[in-house]
């Protein structure tokens, strides 16, 4: 772009007519924060956020709201005491945990925690930011036992290291697998050779690439194809 003030201004080297205009939808407007036909009262927790701010101060980084849902960004190192505090506040049910790959230079990953208070009828979502350089995340299994498998899944899919996790194994993929599939750079068809599968024929070799045809090589068949030449004659 020649003119940074007006990115749409035409440049002789880069004529506007030939430029591919990809206009993603706008940022959420202030109305989006609360106005939503599916908005629920359960997801607004200003009093809990206030209590968190009083207790932890600067560890509560920011609060985001969309569709009447509160998301609290907190400091990574404080996640365990914050969870313990929330559990004492009545958030007794652990609903969900997972990772997000934002594919940015800094703070590439996020981990979110969905907590539910069955008595107060409230939900809260905590989020922490995790940098690529330091993938360690304090495990919350000792606070919420239900987080065990979810943290294993997040490790499997994104490669976070959950510190003090009692059972740090992969959840879905076998231990012999070297990649983390939900990272954005992982190809959709997988990496050929990374996951040995059972042989296609009784005494054949292990199948190294289940999508052989898509990767340009000939797939192994479990049956013998008839000789086409002898058929035609």
């Amino acid at each position: 772009m020649s003119n940074p003030d007006d990115p749409r201004a035409s440049d002789p080297q880069d004529p506007e007519e030939l430029r591919f205009h990809f206009t993603p939808s706008d940022e959420p407007t202030p109305e989006h924060e609360t106005d939503n036909p599916h908005a629920k009262a359960t997801t607004r927790v200003p009093d809990v956020i206030e209590a968190l701010r009083d207790e932890f101060g600067d560890a509560v980084l920011e609060v985001e709201r969309y569709a009447n849902e509160d998301t609290v960004y907190v400091e990574k190192q404080k996640i365990r005491p914050i969870c313990r505090f929330l559990k004492a506040q009545g958030f007794d049910y652990f609903a969900d945990l997972g990772g997000i790959d934002n594919f940015t230079e800094e703070d590439r990953y996020e981990v979110f925690y969905n907590l539910v208070s069955t008595e107060r009828q409230k939900r809260i979502r905590l989020k922490i930011r995790v940098d690529e350089e330091d993938m360690r995340v304090p495990s919350v299994v000792e606070v919420y036992r239900a987080a065990n498998w979810n943290e294993r899944e997040a490790y499997d899919m994104f490669g976070f290291t959950f510190v003090d996790h009692p059972d740090p194994r992969r959840m879905y993929m076998p231990e012999d697998f070297d990649y983390h599939p939900l990272r954005k750079e992982f190809p959709q068809l997988g990496v050929p050779g990374s996951l040995p599968l059972p042989p296609q024929t009784p005494d054949g070799e292990l199948t190294m690439d289940p999508f052989a045809a898509a990767h340009g090589s000939k797939p192994v068949k479990s049956y013998e194809e008839p000789d086409t030449d002898s058929d035609s004659e």
């Binding site: 993603p24 939808s25 106005d35 969309y66 049910y93 609903a95 899919m157 992969r170 012999d176």
Partner: protein, 451 residues
């Protein structure tokens, strides 16, 4: 590619059994050895009373009671491809390790490469016993993210169909549950009801099993008069069928003794382990998303949430039967209160135009093309979570948008996954024969747990 090394399992000679994924199996067995199960804890606590310490126990096992048993992944009682590696002491399960992921298709990854509408058929294949609930869960999640309003009639249709899906799922649970406990013919009786629901689905959606009938912004087609008639017929006679099953099972000595006191979870444990759906309510926690945060029109119909305190397999049996009766009540009210009107949002950026528009107007055709190509576009950076009460429990989608027609990240909170996590704990201390009943009563579906 070098052949994988032969695995080394300390204390076990497994020969050439594991030709692939040696590390994976090694880790499972390692975990089984190192797992600190409650039996060992108990023994350690009893050490002062002259009991032998846990470490010496294997040496004091002259009858060779201890044994490691692999159940699954290919076993009819595991309801799919669930693998349980259990350490037995006689017939008691001392420790158990579950291994899931044999049906892992990576649909969270696939969703990132699809438009919101294109992802719908994949949700059918998650909990394949009640595809309609998954469709509704996905649509509601996307509609919340993009702020799409759904016409009233579509909401009633969705409610009726997801309650039918709940009945259909519970019918299967009861049939295989009976089969797990030894009554083979029960499976056929409950499948007869499922067959009728399939016919209704066929009439409504055009497909018997993987329906994909719900659409973002509404539903695909309206009910035909014949469909309404079929649903009315079904809800009229279904309560009698449930009564028949109750008459068969409620006083059946085998059924009661196989289920009573088996797989017991207390209220505190159930919350702590994150059980969800009927399993959580069977332990006395009245957590049902239909009440907790009503979606669709659930706040406008009259129904009760069955809750049981016992927390064993029998409680879960009674609870699911009650739930089916409540579903019938909901469907009846929906049919009575259903209003005429449009079935999809009338906005080309929010929902597909009707087929009439597509075939007979230029704009309609363009809108149809654009919706297939780009589809719904939620604002950039928007993220929201929407959960519904699926037959198995809380099914939620946490979506993140990057301002394009494809989701940036789809996180699926699958009820079977959370239930299975608790099962690992519930199995410890029970008998091997009871695992089959416990798996049956927790009702996991591997398509959903493995994503």
């Amino acid at each position: 590619m070098a052949q994988p090394q032969k695995p080394n399992f300390p204390g076990h000679d497994l020969g050439d059994q594991f030709r692939f994924w040696p590390k994976h199996n090694e880790k499972i067995y390692e975990r089984l050895e190192s797992k600190h199960a409650w039996l060992e804890e108990k023994q350690a606590a009893a050490q002062g009373d002259g009991e032998p310490p846990a470490t010496q126990k294997s040496e004091l096992d002259p009858l060779e009671n201890e044994m490691v048993l692999n159940i699954g992944p290919q076993h009819p009682a595991t309801h799919g491809v669930l693998r349980c590696v259990v350490k037995l002491d006689g017939e008691t399960i001392e420790k158990s390790v579950l291994d899931i992921g044999y049906l892992h298709r990576g649909i969270e990854k696939l969703a990132e490469h699809k438009t919101y509408q294109e992802f719908m058929p994949y949700t059918d294949r998650m909990d394949y016993l009640s595809p309609y609930s998954n469709n509704v869960a996905w649509c509601l999640a996307v509609e919340k993210l993009a702020g799409i309003e759904v016409p009233e009639r579509a909401q009633w249709i969705r409610m009726i169909m997801s309650e039918l899906a709940r009945i259909s799922s519970h019918c299967l649970w009861l049939g295989v549950g009976m089969m797990d406990a030894g009554a083979v013919s029960g499976f056929v009786w409950t499948f007869q009801e499922r067959e009728e629901i399939y016919s209704i689905m066929d009439e409504v959606a055009g497909a018997r099993f993987t329906v994909s009938h719900s659409r973002i912004g509404g539903v695909s087609t309206d009910f035909s008069p014949r469909a309404i008639e079929m649903i009315r017929d079904f809800v009229d006679k279904f309560p009698d069928r449930v009564e028949g099953w109750e008459g068969l099972l409620n006083k059946n000595r085998i059924w009661i003794e196989r289920n009573k006191g088996v797989g017991r979870v207390t209220k505190e444990e159930a919350l702590e382990l994150g059980l969800t759906g009927p399993n959580l309510r069977g332990s006395g926690v009245p957590y049902d998303i239909r009440r907790f945060e009503p979606y669709l029109k659930y706040d406008e119909v009259d129904f009760t949430i069955p809750v049981r305190e016992e927390g064993d397999c029998l409680a879960r049996y009674f609870l699911r039967l009650d739930e089916m009766k409540q579903s019938v009540r909901i469907i009846e009210q929906c049919l009575d209160r259903m209003t005429e009107g449009p079935i999809r949002a009338d906005d080309a950026k929010q929902a597909y135009p009707s087929k009439d528009e597509v075939y007979y107007s230029m704009e309609g055709m363009i809108h149809d093309f654009m919706y297939t190509d780009v589809g719904t576009v939620p604002p950039k950076g928007a993220h929201s979570y929407h959960a519904i009460e699926a037959p198995k429990g809380e099914l939620g989608f946490y979506l993140t948008s990057d301002g394009t027609g494809r989701p940036w990240r789809v996180r699926i909170n699958a009820p079977s996954f959370t239930n299975l996590q608790a099962m690992e704990y519930m199995m410890e201390g029970s008998l091997v024969a009871d695992t089959v009943v416990i798996i049956g009563s927790l009702d996991p579906v591997m398509g959903e747990a493995d994503k």
